[in-house]
Every structure is written in C-alpha cells, then in structure tokens.
C-alpha cells in the first residue's frame, strides 16, 4: 500500500505543479464565465436591441388597406398606390400585386436596399396569410370580435408529486439543465483524464522507466498508483473550478443584479409561459438535495473514470507510439461517445423509459446516463443496481487491464493485435 501511495503522490504532485495545470485550473472557470457572459450579452442584445423595422406597403389589390396586424418589431406604413404621399423612410417595400384576390392569392414582391432576413420574410408572408384568412372568415359570416377571441395565450404550471404524496413546484427546466451539465462534466473528465492515464503509461514505457520501477513494485501497483494519482488531479481541478465558479457567479450576480432582472423581464415578455422561469429555477435549485446529488455524482465520476482509465492504461501499455493508439481507442471511446450523444434525446423524451433504464445500468454508459436520469428521480433499486454493476465491472476490468498492462509495458516492437491482447489477458 505504501508503494501505491508513493506512486499516487508522485503522479499527483508532478501534474498539479505543472504550469499548464495551474493555468487551466484558473483560466477554466473564467473562460466558462466569459462564455456565459457573451451568450447572455448576445441574447439581451437580440431581445432588447433589435430595431423595429418599418415596412412600406403598396397594396395594388386594395384588399389590405390599413388592416394588416403588425408582427413583433415590424411596423407597417401604407403608401398610396399612386406613390404620391411617399415622404418617409422605410427598410423595404412590400408590394401586393393588382390581381391578388382572396380566392387566388398571388406572389408578393419585396424590394429593399438590403437583402431581407428569413425572419422578416416569414413575418411578412404570415401577416398577409393571416389577414387573408381573417377576411375570408368574415366573408363567410364570422364576426371580428369572435376572431379576436381566437387568439389564445395559455400557459401551464407544472407540479410534481413526490413520494410522500405532496405537491411541489416542478423543476423541469432545472432538471434538464442539471442532466446536461452532469452528462457533460462526466464525459469531459473521463475523456480528458483517461487519455492522461494512457499518455502517462506510454511515457513510462517509451522512456524505459518502467523496467526500473517494476523491479521495485508490482505492475498492478504502478498502474493503480497512476490511475489514482490522476483521479485526484481531476478531483482537485474540479473542486477548484466549483469554488472559483461560485466566487465568480456571486461576483457577477452582485455586480449585474439589475441587468439580471432585465433578462428575466425580457424573456418574460417574449414568451408568456416562461414568465416565472428564472425565479422558479432559483427556488428549485435551493430545494434540491444538493448533498445527495453531490455524493452520487462523486460516485459515478470516480468509478466511471476508474473503469475507463483502466482500459486506457491497458491501451497505453500495448502500444509504442501515440499514432498506434487510434485502433484500440475506438472501442473504448465509442460507448462513451454514444452515451453522451444519447443523453440529450433521453433527457428530452423519456428519462425513465426502457432505453434509459438499460443504459443507466449498463456499466460503460451508466456513469453518464444515470447522472442524466438522476434529477428525474429514478427508482432507487435501479440506482443501486447500476452502482453495484459499475463497481463489479470496474473490478473485473481493472484486473483484466492489469494483465494486459503487465505484459504490454515490457513488450517493445510490433503493435499487438486484438488476438494477442486477448492472449496476454490469459497469461499467467
């Protein structure tokens, strides 16, 4: 045990003291915060900063005089067909041809100095379409007041019934967001640190340090020490990120308290249903059992990483150069990529469906998929089964990987085939 500890310590310290680690660890949250600031900035700009466009309407058909409904951010101005009263500036002209009738609507014409966006084109055609439809409905005996009453704006409040039968506010948006965040973080960390394990193993193999080390320690101890050391690097980085992000978030929300209100207001304006979105999410977030989530997250984070990095270590031991790793990397990374890709569809369709259930128990996908499901309260027995299967697979895979590793680190030369790797597993 002392040796695994020594190796873990060396792996940890040699990585944590690297300049790239320190830079990434400090810059990471700043970059993420910047990224969000830019996104929020852009969306505020779009909602509030978008200029109302003035569109001149020249109606040769005479059907729509002053009767078009202004779409959002568009203002119609009507020009005389003789074009005599034009003393205003417009962004474009919408021309309705003379032969445009309610029975046979003809193609419209739009003229402007700047090419119109798809958004404007859609708004204009929809305005004419709905005006035409309304006129036809009135012609067929419906009253305008009745038509106005058809414009509905219905919103919905979602409630959740918890185990003890109480109603709570639904946290659908938050659940979705948490699911995505969990899936992304676990995927990202397994990949990033798994590859570091592989590189570390290859470094020792190609530098021939390994022969000296394993004349002092068992290959399995070396492999485990390396995997654990890098796991601790990952945890350290993650914890620092959480800490720094918290500080940054607090700083941002204090500094920009007013603009944050504006955001929720503008979002509220554009879509009535999300009116109480932001405060709701805030409340829901504080309702969560954060301690429980954190524990489960740590579990899947750790064992998912351990399972995959054992395989990465085996690959690193089997090859001599980075370019040879591709062939063996694919079968390892495939389940990871597939689970990450499916996590979105699982989130948006059925987080407790049979596909999701299977993938959250299957050990190669469970670290990502079970974390995605977690905010949607999966049955506890599925959670327990998934955890047990993951730990059991971790033990078996690490044992097998250790056997490949033991032979691989001393085998220099030709790249082995899958058949050989299999044989290595069975060697005594």
């Amino acid at each position: 045990m002392r040796k695994i500890w020594l190796i873990t310590k060396r792996e940890y310290l040699s990585r944590v003291t690297k300049k790239t680690f320190i830079v990434m660890t400090i810059l990471g949250p700043i970059l993420i915060a910047l990224f969000y600031a830019v996104i929020i900035g852009i969306s505020i700009n779009q909602k509030t900063g978008e200029r109302t466009k003035t569109i001149g309407v020249i109606d040769h058909s005479g059907l729509f005089a002053n009767s078009l409904i202004n779409p959002p951010k568009v203002n119609f101005i009507y020009a005389d067909t003789s074009l005599s009263n034009i003393n205003f500036e417009v962004d474009g002209w919408l021309i309705i041809p003379k032969d445009f009738t309610l029975g046979s609507p003809k193609r419209l014409l739009y003229k402007s100095t700047q090419a119109p966006t798809l958004d404007i084109q859609g708004k204009l055609t929809r305005a004419i379409e709905s005006a035409t439809k309304n006129k036809k409905l009135i012609l067929n005996g419906l009253r305008q007041t009745f038509l106005d009453s058809l414009n509905l704006n219905i919103s919905m409040t979602t409630m959740e019934i918890n185990k003890s039968g109480e109603l709570t506010n639904s946290k659908a948006e938050l659940n979705f967001g948490l699911g995505v965040a969990f899936a992304f973080i676990i995927y990202f960390f397994i990949f990033m640190y798994g590859v570091q394990v592989m590189r570390g193993v290859m470094e020792e193999k190609t530098n021939r340090i390994v022969e000296i080390i394993i004349s002092s320690v068992k290959p399995f101890q070396l492999m485990m020490g390396k995997i654990l050391g890098i796991a601790m690097v990952g945890l350290t980085q993650f914890l620092i990120w959480i800490g720094l992000s918290g500080v940054l978030m607090a700083f941002i929300s204090l500094t920009f308290a007013l603009p944050m209100d504006t955001i929720s207001n503008t979002i509220g304006e554009s879509g009535g249903a999300q009116n109480q979105g932001i405060p709701n999410i805030m409340n829901a977030f504080f309702d969560l059992d954060i301690g429980f989530y954190a524990l489960i997250f740590l579990f899947y984070f750790l064992f998912g990483y351990l399972l995959y990095s054992a395989m990465f270590a085996a690959v690193g031991s089997a090859v001599d150069s980075e370019s040879d790793t591709q062939q063996f990397m694919l079968p390892i990374t495939l389940p990871l990529i597939i689970s990450f890709a499916t996590s979105f569809s699982i989130l948006s369709s059925d987080p407790n469906g049979s596909m999701a259930t299977f993938m959250s128990i299957f050990p190669l996908s469970s670290p990502i998929i079970m974390m995605v499901r977690l905010p949607f309260n999966p049955p506890w027995e599925e959670l327990a089964l998934s955890m047990i299967v993951l730990v059991a697979t971790f033990i078996v895979f690490t044992w097998l990987a250790g056997r490949i590793y033991k032979v691989g680190i001393l085998a220099i030369g030709k790249k082995p085939t899958y058949k050989q790797l299999f044989k290595w597993m069975l060697l005594k």
């Binding site: 060396r10 530098n207 021939r208 340090i209 000296i212 004349s215 002092s216 320690v217 001393l410």
Partner: protein
Amino acid sequence: MNLLEIKNVSKYYATHKALENVSLSVPEGCIYGLLGPNGAGKTTLIRIINQIATLDAGSIIFDKEPLNQKHIYNIGYLPEERGLYKKQKVWDQMIYFGQLKGLSTAEAKKRSETWLLKFDLMPWKNKKVEELSKGMQQKVQFIITVLHRPRLLILDEPFTGFDPINAEIIKNEIKALKASGTTIVYSTHRMESVEEICDNICLLNRANKILDGSVKDIKMANSKNLFEIIFEGQIPEWIEIVSHEKLEDGQCKVIFNAGHMNRSEIIKRLASEVNIWSFREVVPSIHQLFIDKVKEVNHA
C-alpha cells in the same frame, strides 16, 4: 558461499526459447560477468532475477531462500535501456526511487546528498533531468540503482554512454562497491573490461550456458601451454615453433608450444643458449575464448 543460485531455469516465449535449463552460481562478494552475444538470453535471465519476468521451469535461490518479493529490496538493477522521468527534478527523482526501494524519506535524502557530492552533481540537484547531459543522466541513473545499498547489484552494459573519464569513475565505484561486500552481476557483450573487473564469468549463447567458472580457472583450462620469447641468437632446435618473426637489431620473436615441459625448465634451458629479452606465457583472452566458443557451438 553463493549469494545467488540459478537452478535449471528455462523460459519460453510464444515463438522462441529464451533460456533453456540454465544453472549458475554467483559467489557472494564477487563481480560476476554475464557474457554472451546479443539475443543470448542475458536480459531475460536478469529480468527473471529481478522478478520482472516469470520463469517457466527451475528455481532461484537468493541467500539460501527461494527468491521472493521481499528480495527486491536487496537487489539493485541498472537496465541496459536507461530511463528517468525527463520532466522531474534530479533530487525528487532520487528520493522517489529510493523510497520505492524501501528507504525512509530521511535516509533517501541523506544518501542522495552523499552521492551527488561524490559525483559533483550538487549544482544540478534541482534541475530537470532533461536539462542534464547524457553522461550526467547516466550518473543519476547509477546513483538510483545503488542508493538502497543492494546486496546484489545487476548492471546491464553499465559503461555505454560514458566517456572514458566517466567510465573510469564508474568502474572505480563498482570496485569500491565490491570491496564493501556487494555482489555484482555485470552483463555485457563487450569483452574489454571483463578480464579487468570480473572474478567469475558465465557465457550464454542461444539460450544455453556454454561456459562458466572463475576467470583464472577458465584461462588455465583453455591454455595451450604456448610461450612467447624475444631473444638474440639462434633459434634452439628443440623447441616446437608455432610462429616466428625477425625483429630489428637482430632480435627474434618466437611463439612455441612447450609441450610437457614446465616454465622453469624452459627458462633454464633457453637462458643457457640464447640472450632472452622477454618471456611470457601466451594466455587466451576472454575475448578470444568468447569468439571461439560461440563459433564452435554455432557450427556444431
């Protein structure tokens, strides 16, 4: 007493045999030359002693006990392919490897300092290994091998990569280690230094042992009782000439087979007939023996 006994050891790989029924004994406190051409099985044998590789048949006794995991603290190994962590500082690395070999941190520090002073590496203590010259890296590697004061030191081609001056320093360190009681297995396919530093040797070829014993005994056994004299005068008729050569100043160099006569008889007889300038026994060099034996076996 033998520190290490290899008994009927065999090792097979999928496509070839690496060692076949090899037995040898390494007496305590000697320098034991493990010789053989490339691919003879030297490295495999060394890896088995280091418990890096397993053996398929046979047994190994270390200090009267079957070789086991605890013996790694008594063995130091300098592999032919050297390796250090390039990005790690010399000092940290020495402590780390010392600890892996069971030293306490304090002890590892104390010993590292002594060795760094001895090899004039103190100014490089906090440099990364990659900043050192190749010779200095080799010295660091050597220190790491001997830091835990192993009873058995296994050196695989220890002089490669050293200039003659540093090779001399290392050679003296090896001799000093022997003087302090360390048993040393010295593996090489270069013969130059073998006679100078080895007490015993074993010659491996194609997975088999073809010769072993003390250097003196092997030379005696392979001596053909040849002598070389340089003299002035007529070549005596009673000697069985193998080769002769006229030198300047009327001198003559003759190599002859003394047959059943012994050294003092020859000298007495020669001295009465010619003016002797030099007289020596022609002993086969280990280098020559190595080549002859390997050829002999490979042609058989």
